[in-house]
Symmetry: C2
Subunit: 159 residues, 2 copies
């Protein structure tokens, strides 16, 4: 029976925790387990020996085989390894989680991948901006009806 | 001198043209040139013969070598080819342009790639939603001051 060590990884300070996408990405990375005698999910998938300096091991624990399978299918192990070597060690967890998110999105939607999410969000921003402009215009009309007597109290969000 | 044919490709009807990201993606795909005697950018990069059934040729014209170099560096030629074979021919242009967008974003930001753009947009949506709620609350207070006499005229965007 291999000895199991559960390591608590400090959540990244740079990824914003708001919104459904990044909450999901972030939560995936909070706890990672290492089996000291088991190969990581990447080495298991690639059928190779998992050495102590394996670049994948800290981010692809054996109990999450799909995470590596997905990034391997979309980016390829060699490209993921290259990206991990390009970024600073403290940023590798975020890099892996964003790659895993992109890979999952591309598998779900081979045409647009996570660019589809960008498109949805851009439309939502445009709709909200228009709605806000219209609401502000209504507010100005109300202020006009009241002779502008409370303009200073409500003026902050106009324009 | 090879004969050059410039072909106008119909812009996709499915990608929304609003917002800076997708406008950029879209514009890249509007015009594509084919050199009848020149290999496409992919075959040139991979130093192989470009045949008439080359899956890359319609989307990687020789005059845009960076587009293929980027997707090759991030996804690998074999994975891009697999994705192109998975999607319907009329969706391949959109697939290539979204892959090119993702690849460029990952090269600019190896840690977050285009997930960084998703994070920025999510924060923008949250900020706009909060601002809209506050503006609607102001509007309700104004309506209260006026005794609700114009409620029906301005009630559409509340709540």
């Amino acid at each position: 029976m291999p000895k199991r060590e559960t390591k608590k990884i400090k959540p990244s300070q740079e990824v914003i925790k708001e919104g459904p996408f990044l909450v999901a990405i972030h939560l995936k990375g909070i706890y990672m387990s290492n089996y000291t005698n088991s190969p990581c999910a990447a080495c298991k998938f690639l059928r190779r020996k998992c050495t102590s300096d394996c670049v994948f091991a800290p981010y692809f624990p054996p109990e999450e085989p799909t995470k590596f399978a997905n990034v391997h299918r979309i980016f390829g192990a060699s490209n993921v390894s290259k990206i991990l070597h390009e970024v600073a060690p403290h940023q590798r967890e975020d890099a892996v989680n964003s790659l895993a998110y992109e890979a999952e999105a591309r598998l779900k939607d081979p045409v647009y991948g996570c660019v589809g999410a960008i498109s949805v969000l851009q439309r939502q921003v445009l709709r909200l901006q228009r709605e806000l402009e219209e609401t502000n215009a209504d507010l100005m009309r109300y202020a006009g009806c009241l002779g502008g007597e409370t303009t200073s109290a409500y003026g902050g969000r106009r324009g």
